[in-house]
């Protein structure tokens, strides 16, 4: 029996029993559709997260105080204050004779305290950074200027506002030249940063930036850094640059045994890798749950196929009388199950892609950097899975049909 005739038989069956045909494939439609949506929306969300990390630049190296496993969390996550990283370390990393790939290096300390202008008084985030901060983080200054290296070294009381912080403290008023207070220290506002949008990893817009030494000594009363970031000349030199930094810091800290490292070095590229893996894991886990509904769809197909075999007992007997062999009937019923299932799969793919596209459109309309991704591989996989489900769940009914005794099948009422 040829595939054309089998398809004709299926279509005749569909026409004769439309509601049943729809219900038969519904489980597969929902199953395949949900897997496609989960994979596509998951990829969209993943690209959103990864784009955010990427926007920081893959040419960044982070130096954190305290040793840690490069794949585990930094020690500071556990609430420990580690004081091993100093301002002078950051200075040393700027030495291009020892660290030729470092283009710009910034030291960081962060704090939360009362911040006030003549208009507002609020509790907010402030950050002490180096003059190189805008270069390291790719931040634009919208008005005024960022502080200079001499201001950084000279404990100048100058502040640069994040875009949202400017609005919170000054509303529509021009803040340049005005004064703000962090804790009890007074600062002159010299610039405002361009809005950057907040993301998972940093919230530049909601911060006040002051020179790092000023923040350390005058506001926080400490003499260690939160972390250092170095921007390198080319991502290809990442490993070399990380090695250079390691050598410099070990030398400065008098460390001979790498196991005694009191700092850890990470790159955005590494972070991207780990984030990619984590988000992939979440996606596939969710897709797996979606795939469970395929199982239900398969049982639905088996159920309807069994009913169909019972209803068509006489037809099966007739086909045998006309010369159909066991395998002819096995193939016919397996093909019917697979094609039904594949039809469900195709409808599910179309529906899933449409829903995913809609979600992507909405996300893009809301201003997220969301990419609409449907990989051809997932479409092919979905087709293959739906055919296989038809085969697996159609096998028992098909076996039953092919094994019927032609005489009793012909007599069946």
């Amino acid at each position: 029996m040829q595939i054309k005739e089998i398809i004709k038989t299926i279509l005749e069956g569909f026409r004769a029993n439309k509601i049943r045909a729809v219900l038969t494939i519904l489980g597969i439609v929902i199953g395949i559709g949900s897997v496609i949506v989960i994979m596509s929306v998951g990829a969209g969300a993943q690209s959103l997260i990864l784009n955010q990390v990427n926007s920081m630049g893959t040419d960044l190296i982070g130096i954190l105080p305290g040793a840690s496993d490069p794949n585990g969390p930094p020690a500071t996550v556990f609430g420990l204050t580690i004081t091993t990283l100093k301002y002078e370390d950051a200075q040393a990393l700027r030495d291009r004779s020892q660290a030729p790939h470092n283009v710009a290096v910034s030291a960081y300390v962060a704090g939360v305290d009362t911040i006030s202008s003549i208009y507002e008084n609020l509790t907010g985030n402030f950050m002490g950074t180096s003059a190189a901060y805008p270069e390291v983080e790719n931040v634009e200054v919208a008005s005024g200027r960022f502080f200079t290296e001499s201001e950084e070294k000279g404990l100048a009381r100058v502040a640069v506002l994040g875009a949202q912080m400017k609005i919170d403290l000054f509303g529509e008023n021009d803040p340049i030249g005005q004064r703000i207070k962090i804790k009890r220290e007074s600062f002159e506002v010299i610039g405002v940063l361009a809005a950057r949008g907040s993301n998972l990893l940093s919230d530049t817009d909601n911060r006040v930036f002051v020179p790092v030494l000023t923040a350390e000594k005058l506001v926080l009363g400490i003499d260690h850094l939160g972390f250092i970031r170095a921007k390198i000349d080319d991502t290809q030199n990442l490993d070399a640059a990380m090695d250079d930094i390691r050598v410099i810091l070990r030398q400065r800290h008098g460390i001979t045994n790498p196991a005694d490292d009191d700092f850890s070095i990470r790159s955005t590229a590494q972070a991207l890798d780990v984030l990619g893996q984590v988000t992939d894991a979440i996606r596939f886990f969710l897709a797996g749950i979606g795939a469970l509904s395929l199982l239900v769809g398969g049982v639905g197909i088996m159920n309807i196929m069994l009913i169909s075999v019972a209803e068509r007992t006489r037809e099966i007997g007739l086909r045998k009388a006309l010369g159909a062999r066991k395998q002819d009937l096995l193939v016919q019923f397996l093909a019917e199950a697979s094609i039904s299932s594949l039809t469900g799969g195709v409808v599910g793919i179309v529906g899933g892609v449409a829903i995913s596209a809609l979600i992507a459109l909405v996300a893009q309309a809301l201003g997220y950097n969301w990419s609409f991704v449907v990989s051809p591989a997932s479409v092919i996989l979905a087709c293959a899975v739906s055919i296989s489900i038809g085969m697996i769940f159609g096998y028992y009914p098909a076996k039953k049909a092919s094994g019927l005794d032609p005489i009793s099948a012909l007599r069946y009422e």
Partner: protein, 230 residues
């Protein structure tokens, strides 16, 4: 004339609860090509079982069955299926047409199982339907046809592979007398064209239109009657 069917001491037992039923108890006869034979007997006499065995739908318990000199005992299920397809045409009391399929496709159905691609299926089916006077009904569904027309479609289907022998099981049993007479006339015409036909019936008026009647009673042939000019 070539001997198509030759059976000797054929028996068929069925296992039943509480014993064995001896449906056929030593049947011997032969049928030559070109014959129009009726197998006649009351219900339960074993005539249907006999037809099933002769038509390769069932196997005998003992005895020999030579089809064109070939012992069917040695054949596999698949080989029997091929024989049914190529050598046998079945016509059933209840027509057994696929009700969702067009008349043309019903007639073509045996071509699905010939084992190779048939390219002239439509022409052959149309020719067959023309021969039974239904060339105007090609694209109708069986339920749009009268009983007599449906049985003529079934006869066209039985003929499409040009079989050696046609088995008709109570072919007029579900028909009114006028349609029944038309169908019987068709069988007689086919016989005149050289087809070998075996009618299985309990109806003496049907049986007497054959040239030879095998009377079956309690699983045995009780009389092999030649009808002159039948």
């Amino acid at each position: 004339m070539e001997t198509l069917i030759s059976i000797k001491d054929l028996t068929k037992d069925y296992e039943l609860e509480g014993g064995v039923a001896n449906i056929l108890r030593g049947v011997s006869f032969s049928i030559s090509s070109g014959e129009l034979v009726a197998i006649m007997g009351p219900s339960g006499s074993g005539k249907s079982t006999l037809m099933h065995i002769l038509g390769f739908l069932d196997r005998p318990t003992s005895g020999t069955y030579l089809f064109r000199g070939r012992d069917i005992k040695t054949l596999s299920d698949d080989e029997l299926a091929r024989l049914r397809n190529k050598e046998i045409g079945f016509v059933f009391q209840s027509f057994n047409l696929l009700k969702r399929t067009s008349v043309l496709d019903n007639v073509k159905l045996p071509l699905s199982y010939v084992g190779y691609k048939v390219t002239d299926g439509d022409e052959r089916a149309k020719k067959g339907l023309d021969a039974v006077g239904l060339s105007h009904r090609l694209h109708n569904r069986p339920n749009q046809l009268s009983g007599g027309e449906q049985q003529r479609v079934a006869i066209a289907r039985a003929l499409i592979n040009n079989p050696s022998i046609i088995f008709a099981d109570e072919p007029t049993g579900n028909l009114d007398s006028k349609s029944g007479a038309q169908v019987m006339q068709l069988f007689k015409d086919l016989h005149h064209q050289g087809h070998t036909i075996v009618l299985v019936t309990h109806d003496a008026t049907v049986a007497h239109q054959a040239h030879r009647i095998l009377h079956v009673m309690d699983g045995q042939i009780v009389q092999d009657e030649k009808i002159s000019g039948g």
